[in-house]
Assembly symmetry: C3
Homo-oligomer: 184 residues x 3
Protein backbone atom coordinates (compact mmCIF):
# COMPACT_ATOMS: atom_id res chain seq x y z
CA UNK A 1 0.00 0.00 0.00
CA UNK A 2 2.66 2.50 1.00
CA UNK A 3 5.43 1.17 -1.23
CA UNK A 4 6.60 4.52 -2.49
CA UNK A 5 5.09 6.62 0.24
CA UNK A 6 8.38 6.79 2.12
CA UNK A 7 10.06 8.41 -0.89
CA UNK A 8 10.60 12.10 -0.32
CA UNK A 9 11.84 14.96 -2.49
CA UNK A 10 13.63 17.71 -0.54
CA UNK A 11 14.94 20.97 -1.99
CA UNK A 12 17.64 22.72 0.03
CA UNK A 13 17.99 26.36 -1.00
CA UNK A 14 20.32 29.03 0.32
CA UNK A 15 22.88 31.67 -0.44
CA UNK A 16 26.57 31.07 -0.99
CA UNK A 17 28.25 29.60 2.12
CA UNK A 18 24.92 29.19 3.88
CA UNK A 19 25.75 25.56 4.69
CA UNK A 20 23.46 24.03 2.04
CA UNK A 21 25.69 21.15 0.96
CA UNK A 22 26.67 20.30 4.51
CA UNK A 23 23.06 20.34 5.63
CA UNK A 24 21.91 18.22 2.69
CA UNK A 25 24.54 15.62 3.55
CA UNK A 26 23.54 15.62 7.20
CA UNK A 27 19.98 14.76 6.16
CA UNK A 28 21.46 11.44 5.01
CA UNK A 29 22.51 10.02 8.34
CA UNK A 30 20.73 6.75 8.91
CA UNK A 31 23.00 4.58 6.80
CA UNK A 32 21.58 3.11 3.64
CA UNK A 33 22.96 3.29 0.12
CA UNK A 34 23.69 6.86 -0.94
CA UNK A 35 24.35 8.20 -4.44
CA UNK A 36 25.88 11.64 -4.80
CA UNK A 37 25.26 13.24 -8.18
CA UNK A 38 27.66 16.11 -8.77
CA UNK A 39 26.83 18.62 -11.49
CA UNK A 40 30.09 20.55 -11.22
CA UNK A 41 32.63 20.63 -14.01
CA UNK A 42 36.17 21.54 -13.01
CA UNK A 43 36.74 24.15 -15.67
CA UNK A 44 39.18 26.29 -13.69
CA UNK A 45 41.39 26.08 -10.63
CA UNK A 46 38.86 27.76 -8.31
CA UNK A 47 36.22 25.17 -9.22
CA UNK A 48 38.75 22.34 -8.93
CA UNK A 49 39.54 23.39 -5.37
CA UNK A 50 35.87 23.81 -4.44
CA UNK A 51 35.03 20.35 -5.86
CA UNK A 52 37.97 18.75 -4.04
CA UNK A 53 37.01 20.40 -0.75
CA UNK A 54 33.40 19.25 -1.06
CA UNK A 55 34.50 15.71 -1.97
CA UNK A 56 36.66 15.50 1.16
CA UNK A 57 33.72 16.59 3.28
CA UNK A 58 31.51 13.74 2.03
CA UNK A 59 31.28 10.44 3.90
CA UNK A 60 33.27 7.51 2.52
CA UNK A 61 31.04 4.80 1.08
CA UNK A 62 28.91 7.13 -0.99
CA UNK A 63 28.80 6.47 -4.72
CA UNK A 64 29.62 9.61 -6.70
CA UNK A 65 28.26 10.18 -10.20
CA UNK A 66 29.03 13.18 -12.38
CA UNK A 67 26.18 14.60 -14.40
CA UNK A 68 26.90 18.15 -15.50
CA UNK A 69 24.10 17.92 -18.07
CA UNK A 70 22.22 14.60 -18.12
CA UNK A 71 20.86 14.95 -14.60
CA UNK A 72 17.40 13.64 -15.52
CA UNK A 73 18.90 10.33 -16.72
CA UNK A 74 21.37 10.05 -13.84
CA UNK A 75 18.53 10.24 -11.32
CA UNK A 76 16.58 7.51 -13.10
CA UNK A 77 19.70 5.31 -13.32
CA UNK A 78 20.06 5.57 -9.53
CA UNK A 79 16.37 4.89 -8.91
CA UNK A 80 15.85 1.93 -6.62
CA UNK A 81 19.57 1.12 -6.50
CA UNK A 82 20.12 3.68 -3.76
CA UNK A 83 18.01 4.65 -0.76
CA UNK A 84 18.79 8.30 -1.17
CA UNK A 85 20.18 10.43 -3.97
CA UNK A 86 21.86 13.77 -3.25
CA UNK A 87 22.00 16.21 -6.18
CA UNK A 88 24.52 19.02 -5.70
CA UNK A 89 23.60 21.34 -7.29
CA UNK A 90 20.91 22.78 -9.59
CA UNK A 91 22.84 26.05 -9.65
CA UNK A 92 25.66 24.58 -11.73
CA UNK A 93 23.32 22.33 -13.71
CA UNK A 94 21.39 25.42 -14.85
CA UNK A 95 24.64 27.17 -15.65
CA UNK A 96 25.83 24.17 -17.67
CA UNK A 97 22.49 24.04 -19.51
CA UNK A 98 22.91 27.64 -20.63
CA UNK A 99 25.91 26.49 -22.67
CA UNK A 100 24.35 23.24 -23.86
CA UNK A 101 20.94 24.68 -24.70
CA UNK A 102 22.19 27.91 -26.23
CA UNK A 103 20.69 30.08 -23.46
CA UNK A 104 17.16 29.43 -24.77
CA UNK A 105 14.79 29.72 -21.83
CA UNK A 106 12.10 27.48 -23.36
CA UNK A 107 14.63 24.69 -23.87
CA UNK A 108 16.09 25.07 -20.40
CA UNK A 109 12.68 25.07 -18.73
CA UNK A 110 11.80 21.98 -20.81
CA UNK A 111 14.86 20.31 -19.26
CA UNK A 112 13.65 21.39 -15.82
CA UNK A 113 10.27 19.83 -16.59
CA UNK A 114 12.06 16.61 -17.59
CA UNK A 115 13.96 16.75 -14.30
CA UNK A 116 10.65 17.05 -12.43
CA UNK A 117 9.33 14.06 -14.39
CA UNK A 118 12.38 12.05 -13.25
CA UNK A 119 11.74 13.16 -9.67
CA UNK A 120 8.16 11.92 -9.97
CA UNK A 121 9.27 8.54 -11.34
CA UNK A 122 12.26 7.85 -9.09
CA UNK A 123 11.57 5.43 -6.23
CA UNK A 124 14.48 6.62 -4.06
CA UNK A 125 14.35 9.74 -1.92
CA UNK A 126 16.15 12.72 -3.43
CA UNK A 127 17.74 15.76 -1.78
CA UNK A 128 18.53 18.56 -4.24
CA UNK A 129 20.72 21.56 -3.44
CA UNK A 130 20.30 24.92 -5.17
CA UNK A 131 21.19 28.56 -4.69
CA UNK A 132 19.07 31.60 -4.08
CA UNK A 133 20.64 34.19 -6.41
CA UNK A 134 17.78 36.65 -6.95
CA UNK A 135 18.07 38.86 -3.86
CA UNK A 136 20.79 41.23 -4.99
CA UNK A 137 20.86 44.22 -7.30
CA UNK A 138 20.04 43.66 -11.01
CA UNK A 139 23.35 42.60 -12.60
CA UNK A 140 24.85 44.75 -15.34
CA UNK A 141 25.40 42.01 -17.86
CA UNK A 142 22.72 40.23 -19.87
CA UNK A 143 23.94 36.69 -19.20
CA UNK A 144 23.81 37.17 -15.44
CA UNK A 145 20.31 38.65 -15.65
CA UNK A 146 19.14 35.74 -17.79
CA UNK A 147 20.79 33.26 -15.43
CA UNK A 148 18.93 34.71 -12.43
CA UNK A 149 15.63 34.32 -14.28
CA UNK A 150 16.45 30.77 -15.39
CA UNK A 151 17.62 29.50 -12.01
CA UNK A 152 14.61 31.12 -10.34
CA UNK A 153 12.36 29.29 -12.79
CA UNK A 154 14.17 25.97 -12.24
CA UNK A 155 13.93 26.37 -8.45
CA UNK A 156 10.21 27.15 -8.65
CA UNK A 157 9.53 24.08 -10.79
CA UNK A 158 11.42 21.74 -8.45
CA UNK A 159 9.90 23.37 -5.35
CA UNK A 160 6.42 22.80 -6.80
CA UNK A 161 6.86 19.01 -6.76
CA UNK A 162 9.06 18.80 -3.65
CA UNK A 163 7.66 17.48 -0.38
CA UNK A 164 9.88 19.81 1.57
CA UNK A 165 11.69 23.07 0.72
CA UNK A 166 14.20 24.55 3.14
CA UNK A 167 16.04 27.87 3.10
CA UNK A 168 19.44 27.66 4.77
CA UNK A 169 20.62 30.75 6.65
CA UNK A 170 24.00 30.66 8.39
CA UNK A 171 23.83 26.88 8.58
CA UNK A 172 20.28 26.62 9.93
CA UNK A 173 17.16 25.62 7.99
CA UNK A 174 14.02 27.69 7.68
CA UNK A 175 10.99 25.81 6.43
CA UNK A 176 9.60 27.20 3.17
CA UNK A 177 7.29 24.29 2.29
CA UNK A 178 6.41 21.13 4.16
CA UNK A 179 3.75 18.88 2.72
CA UNK A 180 1.63 17.42 5.50
CA UNK A 181 3.09 14.19 6.76
CA UNK A 182 6.59 14.86 5.46
CA UNK A 183 9.21 14.27 8.14
CA UNK A 184 12.86 15.10 7.81
CA UNK B 1 -18.97 48.65 13.21
CA UNK B 2 -16.53 46.61 11.15
CA UNK B 3 -16.94 48.54 7.91
CA UNK B 4 -13.26 48.88 7.17
CA UNK B 5 -12.05 46.10 9.38
CA UNK B 6 -12.02 43.66 6.47
CA UNK B 7 -9.57 45.88 4.57
CA UNK B 8 -6.11 44.40 4.59
CA UNK B 9 -2.70 45.62 3.41
CA UNK B 10 -0.38 42.81 2.28
CA UNK B 11 3.25 43.23 1.20
CA UNK B 12 4.66 40.42 -0.93
CA UNK B 13 8.47 40.51 -0.95
CA UNK B 14 10.93 38.22 -2.70
CA UNK B 15 13.89 37.90 -5.00
CA UNK B 16 13.76 37.95 -8.77
CA UNK B 17 11.73 35.02 -10.17
CA UNK B 18 10.58 34.00 -6.70
CA UNK B 19 6.96 33.90 -7.85
CA UNK B 20 5.94 37.20 -6.19
CA UNK B 21 3.62 38.53 -8.90
CA UNK B 22 2.02 35.15 -9.45
CA UNK B 23 1.47 34.67 -5.74
CA UNK B 24 0.04 38.18 -5.32
CA UNK B 25 -2.44 37.51 -8.10
CA UNK B 26 -3.43 34.18 -6.60
CA UNK B 27 -4.31 35.99 -3.36
CA UNK B 28 -7.10 37.59 -5.39
CA UNK B 29 -9.21 34.55 -6.13
CA UNK B 30 -12.66 35.08 -4.71
CA UNK B 31 -14.04 37.19 -7.52
CA UNK B 32 -14.79 40.81 -6.78
CA UNK B 33 -13.61 43.89 -8.60
CA UNK B 34 -9.84 43.98 -9.02
CA UNK B 35 -7.63 46.91 -10.00
CA UNK B 36 -4.08 46.19 -11.11
CA UNK B 37 -1.75 49.17 -10.79
CA UNK B 38 1.36 48.68 -12.88
CA UNK B 39 4.39 50.85 -12.13
CA UNK B 40 6.47 49.59 -15.04
CA UNK B 41 7.48 51.78 -17.92
CA UNK B 42 8.43 50.03 -21.14
CA UNK B 43 11.66 51.89 -21.76
CA UNK B 44 13.45 49.08 -23.59
CA UNK B 45 12.71 45.80 -25.35
CA UNK B 46 13.51 43.63 -22.32
CA UNK B 47 11.00 45.55 -20.19
CA UNK B 48 8.42 45.50 -22.99
CA UNK B 49 8.62 41.70 -23.11
CA UNK B 50 8.45 41.37 -19.33
CA UNK B 51 5.40 43.66 -19.16
CA UNK B 52 3.68 41.78 -21.98
CA UNK B 53 4.36 38.41 -20.35
CA UNK B 54 3.00 39.60 -17.01
CA UNK B 55 -0.08 41.09 -18.66
CA UNK B 56 -0.87 37.76 -20.36
CA UNK B 57 -0.61 35.99 -17.02
CA UNK B 58 -3.24 38.21 -15.40
CA UNK B 59 -6.90 37.22 -15.31
CA UNK B 60 -9.22 38.85 -17.83
CA UNK B 61 -11.66 41.26 -16.20
CA UNK B 62 -9.11 43.07 -14.12
CA UNK B 63 -8.84 46.82 -14.63
CA UNK B 64 -5.25 47.85 -15.34
CA UNK B 65 -3.95 51.30 -14.42
CA UNK B 66 -0.45 52.58 -15.11
CA UNK B 67 1.18 54.66 -12.41
CA UNK B 68 4.93 54.77 -12.83
CA UNK B 69 5.11 57.77 -10.46
CA UNK B 70 1.74 58.90 -9.07
CA UNK B 71 1.08 55.68 -7.19
CA UNK B 72 -0.25 57.45 -4.09
CA UNK B 73 -3.00 59.10 -6.14
CA UNK B 74 -3.79 56.00 -8.19
CA UNK B 75 -4.48 54.03 -5.01
CA UNK B 76 -6.85 56.70 -3.70
CA UNK B 77 -8.63 56.88 -7.07
CA UNK B 78 -9.29 53.12 -6.84
CA UNK B 79 -10.43 53.32 -3.23
CA UNK B 80 -13.90 51.91 -2.77
CA UNK B 81 -14.38 51.32 -6.51
CA UNK B 82 -12.53 48.00 -6.31
CA UNK B 83 -12.54 45.28 -3.71
CA UNK B 84 -8.85 44.71 -4.05
CA UNK B 85 -5.96 46.66 -5.56
CA UNK B 86 -2.78 44.91 -6.68
CA UNK B 87 0.32 47.14 -6.94
CA UNK B 88 3.13 45.61 -8.98
CA UNK B 89 5.67 46.76 -8.00
CA UNK B 90 7.40 49.06 -5.51
CA UNK B 91 10.74 48.05 -7.01
CA UNK B 92 10.09 49.90 -10.25
CA UNK B 93 8.21 52.72 -8.53
CA UNK B 94 11.30 53.42 -6.40
CA UNK B 95 13.48 53.21 -9.48
CA UNK B 96 11.19 55.64 -11.33
CA UNK B 97 11.22 57.99 -8.33
CA UNK B 98 15.01 58.17 -8.43
CA UNK B 99 14.68 59.87 -11.82
CA UNK B 100 11.71 62.03 -10.87
CA UNK B 101 12.99 63.08 -7.45
CA UNK B 102 16.59 63.61 -8.50
CA UNK B 103 17.87 60.69 -6.34
CA UNK B 104 17.26 62.69 -3.16
CA UNK B 105 16.60 60.22 -0.38
CA UNK B 106 14.59 62.66 1.76
CA UNK B 107 12.26 63.36 -1.14
CA UNK B 108 11.87 59.70 -2.05
CA UNK B 109 11.14 58.70 1.54
CA UNK B 110 8.62 61.55 1.72
CA UNK B 111 6.90 59.92 -1.26
CA UNK B 112 6.97 56.57 0.55
CA UNK B 113 5.37 58.25 3.54
CA UNK B 114 2.66 59.66 1.25
CA UNK B 115 2.15 56.15 -0.13
CA UNK B 116 1.67 54.87 3.42
CA UNK B 117 -0.84 57.65 4.05
CA UNK B 118 -2.79 56.50 0.96
CA UNK B 119 -2.67 52.93 2.24
CA UNK B 120 -4.11 54.09 5.56
CA UNK B 121 -6.92 56.02 3.85
CA UNK B 122 -7.90 53.51 1.16
CA UNK B 123 -11.00 51.44 1.93
CA UNK B 124 -10.13 48.59 -0.46
CA UNK B 125 -7.66 45.84 0.38
CA UNK B 126 -4.24 46.31 -1.24
CA UNK B 127 -1.58 43.75 -2.17
CA UNK B 128 1.81 45.33 -2.93
CA UNK B 129 4.69 43.49 -4.60
CA UNK B 130 8.31 44.45 -4.01
CA UNK B 131 11.78 42.99 -4.36
CA UNK B 132 14.38 42.07 -1.80
CA UNK B 133 17.60 43.43 -3.34
CA UNK B 134 19.85 43.86 -0.31
CA UNK B 135 21.24 40.34 0.13
CA UNK B 136 24.04 40.43 -2.39
CA UNK B 137 27.51 41.94 -2.41
CA UNK B 138 27.81 45.74 -2.20
CA UNK B 139 27.48 46.95 -5.80
CA UNK B 140 30.37 48.83 -7.40
CA UNK B 141 28.41 51.78 -8.65
CA UNK B 142 26.96 54.57 -6.53
CA UNK B 143 23.49 54.54 -8.08
CA UNK B 144 22.99 50.84 -7.37
CA UNK B 145 24.16 51.30 -3.77
CA UNK B 146 21.79 54.22 -3.30
CA UNK B 147 18.95 52.26 -4.91
CA UNK B 148 19.44 49.37 -2.46
CA UNK B 149 19.23 51.78 0.45
CA UNK B 150 16.16 53.52 -0.96
CA UNK B 151 14.19 50.39 -1.78
CA UNK B 152 15.08 48.93 1.61
CA UNK B 153 13.73 52.08 3.25
CA UNK B 154 10.56 52.01 1.14
CA UNK B 155 9.97 48.34 1.95
CA UNK B 156 10.44 48.97 5.67
CA UNK B 157 7.96 51.85 5.65
CA UNK B 158 5.28 49.84 3.84
CA UNK B 159 5.94 46.74 5.97
CA UNK B 160 5.45 48.85 9.10
CA UNK B 161 1.83 49.62 8.19
CA UNK B 162 1.04 46.30 6.47
CA UNK B 163 -1.17 43.72 8.15
CA UNK B 164 0.81 40.94 6.53
CA UNK B 165 4.31 40.71 5.05
CA UNK B 166 5.36 37.62 3.12
CA UNK B 167 8.74 36.58 1.73
CA UNK B 168 8.42 34.44 -1.38
CA UNK B 169 11.03 31.71 -1.89
CA UNK B 170 10.82 29.49 -4.96
CA UNK B 171 7.10 30.21 -5.25
CA UNK B 172 6.20 29.59 -1.61
CA UNK B 173 5.43 32.22 1.05
CA UNK B 174 7.25 32.58 4.34
CA UNK B 175 5.47 34.73 6.91
CA UNK B 176 7.50 37.76 7.97
CA UNK B 177 4.73 39.66 9.74
CA UNK B 178 1.13 38.74 10.48
CA UNK B 179 -0.92 41.10 12.60
CA UNK B 180 -3.22 39.14 14.91
CA UNK B 181 -6.50 38.41 13.23
CA UNK B 182 -5.25 38.96 9.71
CA UNK B 183 -6.21 36.10 7.41
CA UNK B 184 -5.01 35.66 3.87
CA UNK C 1 23.25 27.86 40.07
CA UNK C 2 22.04 29.96 37.15
CA UNK C 3 24.69 32.68 37.38
CA UNK C 4 25.49 32.74 33.69
CA UNK C 5 22.34 31.12 32.48
CA UNK C 6 20.74 34.48 31.77
CA UNK C 7 23.55 35.33 29.36
CA UNK C 8 22.40 35.06 25.78
CA UNK C 9 24.15 35.34 22.41
CA UNK C 10 21.91 36.68 19.62
CA UNK C 11 22.90 37.00 15.96
CA UNK C 12 20.84 39.46 13.92
CA UNK C 13 21.27 38.81 10.18
CA UNK C 14 19.72 40.59 7.23
CA UNK C 15 20.24 42.37 3.97
CA UNK C 16 21.20 46.00 3.55
CA UNK C 17 18.55 48.36 4.98
CA UNK C 18 16.59 45.47 6.46
CA UNK C 19 16.48 47.19 9.85
CA UNK C 20 19.16 45.02 11.49
CA UNK C 21 20.90 47.69 13.55
CA UNK C 22 17.64 49.28 14.63
CA UNK C 23 16.21 45.93 15.64
CA UNK C 24 19.37 44.95 17.54
CA UNK C 25 19.19 48.19 19.50
CA UNK C 26 15.52 47.68 20.28
CA UNK C 27 16.39 44.31 21.82
CA UNK C 28 18.19 46.36 24.47
CA UNK C 29 15.27 48.09 26.07
CA UNK C 30 15.14 47.19 29.73
CA UNK C 31 17.75 49.64 30.92
CA UNK C 32 20.99 48.24 32.24
CA UNK C 33 24.52 49.09 31.21
CA UNK C 34 25.02 48.83 27.45
CA UNK C 35 28.28 48.73 25.50
CA UNK C 36 28.18 49.35 21.77
CA UNK C 37 31.19 47.96 19.91
CA UNK C 38 31.49 49.55 16.48
CA UNK C 39 33.66 47.82 13.90
CA UNK C 40 33.34 50.54 11.27
CA UNK C 41 36.27 52.64 10.16
CA UNK C 42 35.42 55.97 8.55
CA UNK C 43 37.68 55.58 5.53
CA UNK C 44 35.57 57.66 3.16
CA UNK C 45 32.78 60.23 3.22
CA UNK C 46 30.00 57.67 2.58
CA UNK C 47 31.12 55.62 5.61
CA UNK C 48 31.52 58.75 7.73
CA UNK C 49 27.91 59.71 7.04
CA UNK C 50 26.63 56.19 7.69
CA UNK C 51 28.52 56.02 11.00
CA UNK C 52 27.26 59.44 12.06
CA UNK C 53 23.67 58.53 11.19
CA UNK C 54 23.88 55.30 13.16
CA UNK C 55 25.45 57.07 16.14
CA UNK C 56 22.60 59.58 16.24
CA UNK C 57 20.09 56.76 16.25
CA UNK C 58 21.61 55.14 19.34
CA UNK C 59 20.31 55.91 22.82
CA UNK C 60 22.31 58.34 24.93
CA UNK C 61 24.01 56.66 27.87
CA UNK C 62 25.48 53.80 25.88
CA UNK C 63 29.24 53.38 26.01
CA UNK C 64 30.72 53.21 22.53
CA UNK C 65 33.95 51.33 21.81
CA UNK C 66 35.65 51.10 18.44
CA UNK C 67 37.13 47.76 17.47
CA UNK C 68 37.68 47.50 13.75
CA UNK C 69 40.00 44.51 14.29
CA UNK C 70 40.45 43.48 17.95
CA UNK C 71 36.81 42.52 18.44
CA UNK C 72 37.64 39.38 20.42
CA UNK C 73 39.51 41.43 23.05
CA UNK C 74 36.95 44.24 23.12
CA UNK C 75 34.20 41.77 24.01
CA UNK C 76 36.24 40.30 26.85
CA UNK C 77 37.09 43.80 28.15
CA UNK C 78 33.36 44.55 28.37
CA UNK C 79 32.56 41.22 30.01
CA UNK C 80 30.78 41.70 33.33
CA UNK C 81 31.11 45.49 33.18
CA UNK C 82 28.02 45.77 30.99
CA UNK C 83 24.73 43.89 31.02
CA UNK C 84 24.58 43.74 27.26
CA UNK C 85 27.08 44.24 24.47
CA UNK C 86 25.95 45.17 20.96
CA UNK C 87 28.44 44.38 18.16
CA UNK C 88 27.70 46.22 14.93
CA UNK C 89 28.78 44.59 12.70
CA UNK C 90 30.56 41.38 11.65
CA UNK C 91 30.24 42.48 8.03
CA UNK C 92 32.77 45.27 8.43
CA UNK C 93 34.89 43.29 10.89
CA UNK C 94 35.32 40.57 8.24
CA UNK C 95 36.08 43.20 5.64
CA UNK C 96 38.68 44.81 7.93
CA UNK C 97 40.21 41.38 8.62
CA UNK C 98 40.74 40.79 4.91
CA UNK C 99 43.19 43.69 4.96
CA UNK C 100 44.79 42.80 8.28
CA UNK C 101 45.07 39.06 7.64
CA UNK C 102 46.15 39.32 4.02
CA UNK C 103 42.92 37.74 2.71
CA UNK C 104 44.02 34.33 4.02
CA UNK C 105 40.87 32.34 4.75
CA UNK C 106 42.52 30.07 7.34
CA UNK C 107 43.70 33.08 9.31
CA UNK C 108 40.37 34.86 9.09
CA UNK C 109 38.45 31.77 10.18
CA UNK C 110 40.94 31.38 13.06
CA UNK C 111 39.95 34.89 14.11
CA UNK C 112 36.27 33.92 13.87
CA UNK C 113 37.02 30.92 16.10
CA UNK C 114 38.71 33.27 18.60
CA UNK C 115 35.61 35.48 18.46
CA UNK C 116 33.45 32.46 19.28
CA UNK C 117 35.77 31.63 22.19
CA UNK C 118 35.26 35.18 23.51
CA UNK C 119 31.50 34.77 23.13
CA UNK C 120 31.69 31.56 25.16
CA UNK C 121 33.70 33.23 27.92
CA UNK C 122 31.87 36.54 28.17
CA UNK C 123 29.43 36.81 31.07
CA UNK C 124 27.34 39.61 29.53
CA UNK C 125 24.70 39.03 26.88
CA UNK C 126 25.83 39.89 23.35
CA UNK C 127 23.84 40.92 20.29
CA UNK C 128 25.83 40.73 17.05
CA UNK C 129 24.71 42.26 13.75
CA UNK C 130 25.82 40.85 10.40
CA UNK C 131 24.80 40.93 6.76
CA UNK C 132 23.50 38.25 4.45
CA UNK C 133 25.49 38.88 1.25
CA UNK C 134 25.34 35.48 -0.47
CA UNK C 135 21.96 35.63 -2.21
CA UNK C 136 22.92 37.56 -5.33
CA UNK C 137 24.68 36.64 -8.55
CA UNK C 138 28.33 35.51 -8.33
CA UNK C 139 30.35 38.75 -8.37
CA UNK C 140 32.83 39.33 -11.19
CA UNK C 141 35.81 40.18 -9.07
CA UNK C 142 37.85 37.76 -6.99
CA UNK C 143 37.90 39.85 -3.81
CA UNK C 144 34.10 40.11 -3.70
CA UNK C 145 33.75 36.35 -4.28
CA UNK C 146 36.25 35.64 -1.50
CA UNK C 147 34.50 38.09 0.80
CA UNK C 148 31.14 36.34 0.31
CA UNK C 149 32.74 33.03 1.24
CA UNK C 150 34.51 34.51 4.27
CA UNK C 151 31.51 36.35 5.68
CA UNK C 152 29.34 33.28 5.11
CA UNK C 153 31.85 31.22 7.07
CA UNK C 154 32.04 33.80 9.88
CA UNK C 155 28.23 33.97 10.11
CA UNK C 156 27.96 30.16 10.24
CA UNK C 157 30.53 29.95 13.04
CA UNK C 158 28.80 32.60 15.17
CA UNK C 159 25.35 31.16 14.43
CA UNK C 160 26.56 27.76 15.63
CA UNK C 161 27.23 29.06 19.14
CA UNK C 162 24.38 31.61 19.27
CA UNK C 163 21.28 30.97 21.34
CA UNK C 164 19.16 32.84 18.84
CA UNK C 165 19.60 33.71 15.15
CA UNK C 166 17.19 36.11 13.46
CA UNK C 167 16.83 37.11 9.82
CA UNK C 168 15.51 40.64 9.41
CA UNK C 169 13.23 41.30 6.43
CA UNK C 170 11.83 44.80 5.91
CA UNK C 171 12.28 45.54 9.61
CA UNK C 172 10.68 42.34 10.94
CA UNK C 173 12.50 39.33 12.39
CA UNK C 174 12.18 35.77 11.14
CA UNK C 175 13.48 33.14 13.53
CA UNK C 176 16.32 31.06 12.07
CA UNK C 177 17.46 29.40 15.28
CA UNK C 178 16.08 29.50 18.80
CA UNK C 179 17.67 27.27 21.42
CA UNK C 180 15.02 25.89 23.76
CA UNK C 181 14.45 28.22 26.68
CA UNK C 182 15.94 31.27 25.00
CA UNK C 183 13.67 34.29 25.32
CA UNK C 184 14.17 37.60 23.62
Amino acid sequence: MKENSSKKITLVLGGVRSGKSHYAQNLVTNGGRVAFIATAEALDEEMRQRIARHREERPAGWTTLEAPLALEDAILECSGKFDIIVVDCLTLWTSNLMGAEDSQDERIFARADRLCESLRQVTSSVVLVSNEVGCGIVPDNDAARLYRDLLGGVNQRVAAIADKVLLLVAGYPMTVKDVAGATS
